[in-house]
């Protein structure tokens, strides 16, 4: 059997809390292959961070087993710590009085690098993550985005076989978050076999980065698959938004075509020459029915001005699985902890 990067079987984690214990993970099973960028997607309080803390050997499971490259998280902690690293979002760790360069060099020593090798690697990573101008700036003076880049550089210092990222773009602005995501992808692609486990509650981030995603809620994994596979669960039809210059007979003319489930007019738009246009939402049985629609439009002399396919989001997938959205799940998690 090929070696898995992560193998989790029946993991449960219960926190003693008042007035009653909190079940953070409730029988989680998971397998991640080497070289994958695997995402854990779920609202706040779903159990994502708890699972990462178990896999990074900071927390013991209440029951079940978890392995990282075949090493048990409970008994082989030293071995796992030699080949992994972790970066959390919103991390404020570090010593404010040190410079970026010094802070990172300190951590190279914890991973056994020689003094000179440590400085060399720190300088390389500072360049790679785009912190060259801040290299001699004190850690306490960094902006949020800069600090997170430094944290990411720290996570890459020992060239880990597996990198755990716990909401790495939390609190970053759009540009900083995008920059960080690009770094993550570039790092993973630089050498084959690098594995990343990423937790996030940003659906677009999971959709963009991950090879496969596990949707987590209330300590359970609800579904696992690639973003496309997960979306296919909820998208049984093809949905298009089409804009034409005119349409004799309106949407009803298209609704009766074979393969068209429904057709409805959206708000009329005005094109640049101030003519009225017609925008319609079409639900088709499959993409093949689009040909029927285009042909029918051509026969009526309508010109297609725009055509866009709508896909369901991962939130749609979540709603389908759970029956409520992410925002409602966040509120539920907050109330549960109050």
């Amino acid at each position: 059997m090929p070696l898995l990067a992560i193998e989790v079987r029946g993991i449960r984690r219960v926190y003693a809390a008042k007035p009653e214990p909190v079940v953070a993970l409730d029988g989680v099973d998971l397998q991640v292959a080497p070289g994958e960028l695997f995402g854990l997607l779920g609202p706040n309080g779903a159990g994502k961070t708890t699972l990462i803390k178990i896999l990074t050997t900071l927390l013991l499971p209440s029951s079940g087993t978890a392995r990282v490259f075949g090493f048990d998280v409970e008994h082989d902690t030293k071995k796992i710590r030699r080949i992994m690293n972790m970066v959390a979002g919103g991390e404020q760790s570090g010593y404010g009085i040190l410079t970026v360069r010094e802070q990172l060099w300190m951590f190279t020593q914890f991973y056994g690098l020689t003094r000179h090798e440590g400085w060399r690697r720190v300088d390389e990573l500072i360049e790679a993550v785009g912190l060259a101008e801040q290299r001699v700036q004190r850690v306490s003076t960094l902006s949020t985005g800069q600090r997170q880049k430094m944290n990411l550089a720290r996570g890459l210092l020992n060239d880990p076989w597996i990198l755990f990222l716990d909401e790495p773009t939390l609190g970053l602005d759009v540009a900083a978050a995008r920059s960080l995501r690009e770094l993550i992808v570039a790092w993973q692609h630089a050498v084959p076999g690098r594995t990343i486990l990423l937790t996030t509650h940003y659906m677009a981030e999971a959709d963009e980065l991950c090879d496969r995603i596990a949707i987590v809620d209330r300590g359970r994994i609800l579904a696992i698959g690639s973003p496309a596979e997960l979306k296919k669960r909820v998208q049984h039809e093809s949905i298009f938004r089409i804009e034409v210059d005119h349409l004799d007979g309106g949407a009803a003319a298209l609704a009766s075509l074979p393969g068209v489930v429904s057709a409805s007019e959206a708000a009329s738009a005005t094109d640049t020459s101030t003519r009225q246009t017609v925008v319609m939402n079409l639900v088709l049985e499959d993409d093949g029915a689009l040909g029927q629609v285009v042909g029918a439009l051509a026969q009526t002399g309508s010109h297609i001005l725009g055509l866009r396919k709508s896909e369901p989001t991962l939130e749609d997938v979540f709603v389908e699985l759970v029956g409520r959205g992410f925002a409602e799940s966040d509120v539920d998690a907050t109330e549960a902890h109050d």
Partner: protein, 314 residues
């Protein structure tokens, strides 16, 4: 959603008078809330029994160190000096609590709880918040003083006659001394705003230095004249002398005596009650004004350098 809607309706009727505050009422409320917060932080970390042990172990140990030193050297003859050192040592725990209280509040809120900047930008007067927070530690220190004195009387042979206590002097000295201690605490708070996380020990080090010059556990006459002068300019010297004189009238004093700087300057061996209170008031006012000035200066520098929202560990 309805609460958000009502908030937006209130915004349309914004009242400029809200920015004026309510003067003394706000100050008193700020103080009360800060004092309550300080007490919660100070007292809720363990069960009451352990809290009691913690509150009294340090001052009693300090007193015992001095009592043993007396026994070692003076033997039975040194016991006459015992009330002197027990009172001084007991009072010193109050001094340390007061000086450390405000400074530690700054360090806690900046380094551990990371709320200092939020407290600072709130409409509450930052100074009042600090003093309120420090009052809780003063309360713990006061408990230590009382218990140490009780232990001194009950177990260490310190002679005490309640009927002989000079209550007016005790009250005056206590109130003025409290103000001076808070002033010194403010001075330390101003200093630690500028320093890093490891400055937890600074208030105690500062108090330890003052321990040398204030006649807490030995008469000032033992010191060289220039050092005695520093002591005479320190309000704590007069406060300790005043409380000692009030509790044990006629006992050994710390300021005067034959050959003391006080005697050579003022022409008589020991200060009277009025002199003690007057000197305490004068030196206290000077120190407090200086402390406020240092604090304001430090505050301005902290804002300029962005020191209120950074952590500084090593």
């Amino acid at each position: 959603m309805s609460s958000l809607a009502s908030a937006s309706r209130d915004a349309a009727r914004f009242d400029l008078a809200r920015t004026e505050g309510r003067g003394l009422a706000d100050t008193l409320r700020t103080f009360a809330v800060a004092a309550r917060l300080g007490w919660q932080l100070e007292a809720n970390w363990t069960d009451p029994f352990l809290f009691f042990i913690y509150s009294v172990a340090k001052p009693i140990s300090s007193a015992l160190i001095l009592v043993v030193m007396l026994e070692v050297i003076g033997g039975p003859a040194g016991r006459a000096f015992r009330p002197f050192v027990v009172v001084g040592s007991a009072l010193w725990s109050f001094v340390v609590s007061g000086i450390a209280g405000l400074a530690w509040s700054i360090l806690e809120d900046r380094e551990r709880y990371r709320v200092l900047k939020y407290v600072y930008i709130s409409p509450s007067d930052f100074l009042i918040v600090l003093i309120g927070r420090g009052v809780a530690r003063l309360g713990v220190g006061l408990a230590g003083v009382v218990i140490t004195l009780v232990v001194g009387v009950v177990a260490l042979g310190v002679p005490f006659e309640p009927a002989a206590v000079d209550w007016p002097l005790l009250l005056a000295a206590s109130l003025l001394g409290l103000g001076s201690i808070i002033g010194l605490g403010l001075l330390m708070a101003g200093i630690v705003i500028q320093t890093r996380q490891e400055s937890w020990s600074y208030p105690e080090a500062f108090a330890g230095a003052l321990f040398l010059v204030t006649g807490a556990v030995f008469p000032l006459t033992v010191l060289p004249a220039p050092v005695q002068a520093i002591g005479l300019l320190t309000p704590l010297t007069w406060w300790i002398a005043g409380v000692r004189e009030a509790l044990f009238p006629g006992g050994p004093g710390s300021i005067g005596g034959d050959g003391s700087l006080f005697a050579s300057v003022f022409g008589h061996a020991n200060p009277g009650h009025a002199e003690i209170v007057g000197a305490l008031l004068a030196t206290g006012v000077v120190v407090t004004l200086a402390a406020v000035a240092v604090f304001r200066l430090s505050d301005r520098r902290a804002k300029s350098a962005g020191l209120y929202d950074q952590t500084t560990g090593s």
